[in-house]
């Protein structure tokens, strides 16, 4: 199968610190691909490079045959993304956030309204369409972001910990929808998560990254067989070890807390 994403020797350094260290992998067209790894492994940094937000220090990326470095707009039209951190405008209403996105992505005027309504109904936020996003719960914001990412019918859907903080009902609902999209529309899904059972259930291919290196790739079954584990979670632990990523975890948490404070303080 022709890969829709191929990455060769991708590297990102922040000063002396190497966040992503020469990774290579490819993602088959139309499948669901899980990019797993402990805190601070380099997942978000990799996604930022794939999605034109960060320039790599070294290596090449091809998305649908185009480079995010030189062919930014072509690449940007191809994907939708749900970021790990919030990315809605709190001072706009839910509908306005969607509309803003539709205009930026040149969704034809006649399609805008029906599509926005369809997606917002699907993620169950339509009855709150005229409320300011700052009045939404975390889960509602997340659902709105997912709807927004699909608004321009992307070929590739990047999801960086999309289900973080969602209740099981919503998670199941959303994954069912994404699986359906992937199957029926042929959308390629690239996601990260810390819920291993989720990855085991929905992913067709998995890559595991640790300390900026890819340490394993394959189907969930292959990884389980290779490590003689009963679940992907056990396979993950056996590949990445049991030690907690103290430093990364705490600095990330500190950042998230700070963000929360900022939100509260506004």
């Amino acid at each position: 199968m022709i890969p829709i994403i191929s990455v060769t020797n991708l590297t990102k350094k922040f000063g002396d610190m190497t966040a992503v260290d020469g990774i290579s992998f490819s993602v088959p067209t139309g499948g669901i691909f899980a990019f797993l790894g402990p805190n601070g492994a380099g997942k978000t940094t990799s996604i930022k490079m794939l999605t034109t937000l960060l320039a790599p220090t070294d290596g090449t990326i091809e998305i649908g045959g185009k480079s995010p470095q030189t062919d930014q707009d072509a690449v940007r039209r191809m994907f939708g993304i749900v970021f790990q951190d919030p990315s809605l405008d709190d001072e706009l209403t839910a509908y306005e956030n969607m509309e803003f996105h539709a205009v930026l992505y040149s969704v034809p005027v006649t399609l805008r309204k029906p599509r926005i309504e369809e997606l917002m109904r699907f993620v169950d936020v339509w009855d709150r369409k005229d409320s300011l996003v700052k009045t939404f719960s975390g889960g509602m914001k997340r659902r709105l972001e997912i709807a927004r990412g699909l608004l321009h019918h992307p070929q590739i859907f990047f999801l960086d910990e999309p289900t973080l903080g969602l209740d099981p009902q919503t998670r199941n609902h959303i994954w069912a929808y994404i699986q359906k999209l992937s199957k029926e529309e042929g959308i390629t899904v690239f996601f990260t998560t810390h819920y291993m059972e989720e990855a085991q259930r929905v992913a067709q291919q998995v890559a595991i990254i640790d300390h900026g290196h890819i340490i394993a790739t394959g189907t969930p079954q292959e990884l389980m067989t290779k490590t003689k584990s009963a679940s992907l979670e056990d396979a993950f632990l056996s590949l990445t070890g049991h030690e907690i990523r103290e430093e990364e975890a705490s600095s990330k948490d500190a950042m998230r807390n700070r963000r929360r404070m900022w939100h509260g303080g506004r």
């Binding site: 930022k48 937000l53 940007r76 001072e91 706009l92 205009v103 930026l104 992505y105």
Partner: protein
């Protein structure tokens, strides 16, 4: 084009929704008009300089515009921190349009703020010929655009709001106080001060606005407009460049 429009619209919506910001940013101009306008008025008149309130208002209007404009530009830092900037930066729209749309939006908001101050100052007794209004709006728009672009340029290189205090104290305040917004520049002005003022872009904005509104000028309107437009272009280009270099 649509992208520029929607970014412009967003700035306006945010402005109109944040009543506390709108009202809060009027406190300072009112204080200046009241305390300085009325407090210094008699001294100014005694020195044979005429009506101080008339002289002061163009300066205070410029101040309102300056603060709002810088703040609108610096909002880019907010967008960085609250994450919304990512949403705009992954869209298939040139960074130039993004920068342009939000800068125009910020400038529009700043002009609106300036207009509110102008109307308020009429309650304090300020008068100007209504025919001067179109040209006054042009001056106000240039001031607004110039400093929104400057704010955007600064915000593009700053990581977080901690740098904001620095900007206020070491850039915005000096820009304002050294612009001749509060005092006349003439033959009695110390040379040093005169020289510094000549390098303050806001001085040309204040001077232009004053010429248009009350017919008092130091540099002359043609020079004012020339400097304003040149510096505005410069800052818009600088702002666009720095904005296009943002990585998050």
């Amino acid at each position: 084009m649509n992208a520029i429009y929607i970014l412009w619209l967003r700035q306006l919506k945010r402005y109109f929704r944040s009543k506390s910001r709108m009202v809060g940013s009027l406190g300072q101009p009112i204080l200046f008009l009241f305390a300085l306008g009325f407090g210094m008025g008699p001294v100014y008149a005694k020195a044979g300089q005429g009506n101080y309130l008339q002289f002061l208002v163009p300066g205070v209007v410029s101040m309102g515009i300056l603060f709002t404009a810088i703040f609108s530009g610096v909002e880019v830092i907010w967008d960085k921190q609250f994450g919304f900037l990512k949403e705009t930066l992954v869209a298939p729209v040139s960074r130039l349009s993004i920068m342009f749309g939000r800068t125009l939006g910020g400038a529009t908001v700043a002009v609106l703020q300036g207009c509110i101050v102008l109307v308020l100052s009429m309650l304090f007794g300020f008068r100007f010929p209504i025919t001067a209004l179109p040209m006054a709006l042009v001056c106000m728009f240039f001031i607004a655009l110039l400093f929104t672009a400057l704010g955007t340029a600064l915000a593009s290189v700053l990581e977080d709001m901690q740098g904001f205090q620095l900007i206020m104290n070491f850039l915005v305040m000096p820009l304002f106080f050294l612009s001749g917004a509060l005092f006349p520049i003439n033959d009695n002005t110390p040379q040093v001060l005169k020289l510094i003022t000549a390098f303050d872009p806001l001085a040309y904005g204040v001077d232009g606005l004053r010429d248009v509104l009350i017919g008092v000028t130091h540099f002359g309107l043609p020079l004012d407009m020339a400097v304003l437009s040149l510096v505005t272009v410069l800052f818009v280009v600088l702002g666009s460049y720095l904005f296009s270099k943002i990585q998050i």
